[in-house]
Amino acid sequence: MNDPDKNSFDQAAWIAQARQLLDESARDLDAHTASRLNRARQTALALQSVRSPRRWLLPAGLASACAALLLAVAIWQPHHSALSPAPDTLDSAATTAGAVGTADADTSPADDTLEFYQNLEFYAWLDAQGKDGDG
């Protein structure tokens, strides 16, 4: 009957020997093969150097795009608020007007313009009356 300890010892021994032989075969490559391996490695590394700048360009590009967007918003916002007052500006204006008088606070410039166009005939008549009175 086989001794299992002896078998495992034998196995470990020949595996160690096999490992050593494989190490030697990898170490003792001829110069031509070593040179070709070196070329293969350089070819692979060249791929890395080509890819690297692109990898760094992506976050840089994103950061530039965000900065441009923020700048555009910053430029556009004051211009926009000059054309139409912001809601909080309107609120503060209404509060001030409320302190002065409720009638003034209820009328906005848009309402004035609408009223003017609705009573256009009256203003024309008033103008004509004025001229007749002058003459």
Binding site: L21, L22, S25, L29, A40, A44, Q48, S52
Partner: protein, 199 residues
């Protein structure tokens, strides 16, 4: 335009990004230098041809750099051997398909087939240099490893030569840990048989 180019070329070498890239490239170079010879031997044992093996290793290196160079360095070895294993499997599959087609075309010319076999190198003949004492064991091992099925050979080389544990070997070979154990056990039995016959 030349002014802009000049500004870039002057400012880049000082940037931390470029330093990181060159450090990474140095580490990558060191890593590939460390594994290339073993990888070549693995590919050579699988293909039986050094030129094919060199092509396979270069292909594996390029695939590794393209896909995994950004991964942590601790993961590089299993990932590199995973790419190599994948290339060896592809090569093995292509050769099987080609062999099937050649078998169909050569079916009618049995005499020619006999001639081809007669002209093929005798694997038992180690050749003039390998007859020398000391090289016989290496030749016998090469022959025994070369005769193993691809998966068994890879399991043996990754576990016993590269020193990967069962889990890493399974991850590298894209199979279960149970399969790795089975492949390895069969490989050890076959190698032992082959080497004992040789003695």
């Amino acid at each position: 335009m030349s002014g802009i180019a000049g500004t870039i070329s002057v400012s880049l070498p000082n940037s931390p990004c470029v330093e990181t890239v060159s450090t990474n490239q140095r580490a990558l170079d060191q890593f590939l230098r460390g594994v290339e010879r073993r990888a070549l031997r693995m590919a050579e044992l699988a293909s039986g041809n050094r030129d094919e093996a060199l092509d396979l290793v270069q292909d594996a290196m390029c695939g590794f750099v393209r896909n995994y160079a950004g991964k942590p360095q601790a993961e590089w070895a299993p990932l590199f051997y995973r790419v190599l294993d994948s290339r060896l499997n592809d090569w093995h599959r292509r050769r099987k398909v080609r062999g099937r087609w050649l078998a169909v075309f050569n079916r009618d010319s049995a005499e020619e087939e006999a001639d081809v076999i007669a002209q093929a190198p005798d694997l038992n003949d180690p050749g003039p240099l390998l007859r020398l004492a000391g090289n016989e064991a290496a030749a016998a091992l090469d022959q025994a490893l070369g005769n193993l099925p691809l998966r068994q050979r890879q399991a043996f080389l990754l576990r016993m030569w590269e020193g990967f544990d069962v889990a890493t070997t399974a991850q590298t070979m894209r199979c279960s840990e149970g399969s790795v154990k089975t492949h390895l056990s069969r490989a050890l039995a076959a190698l032992r048989r082959a080497l004992e016959q040789h003695q």
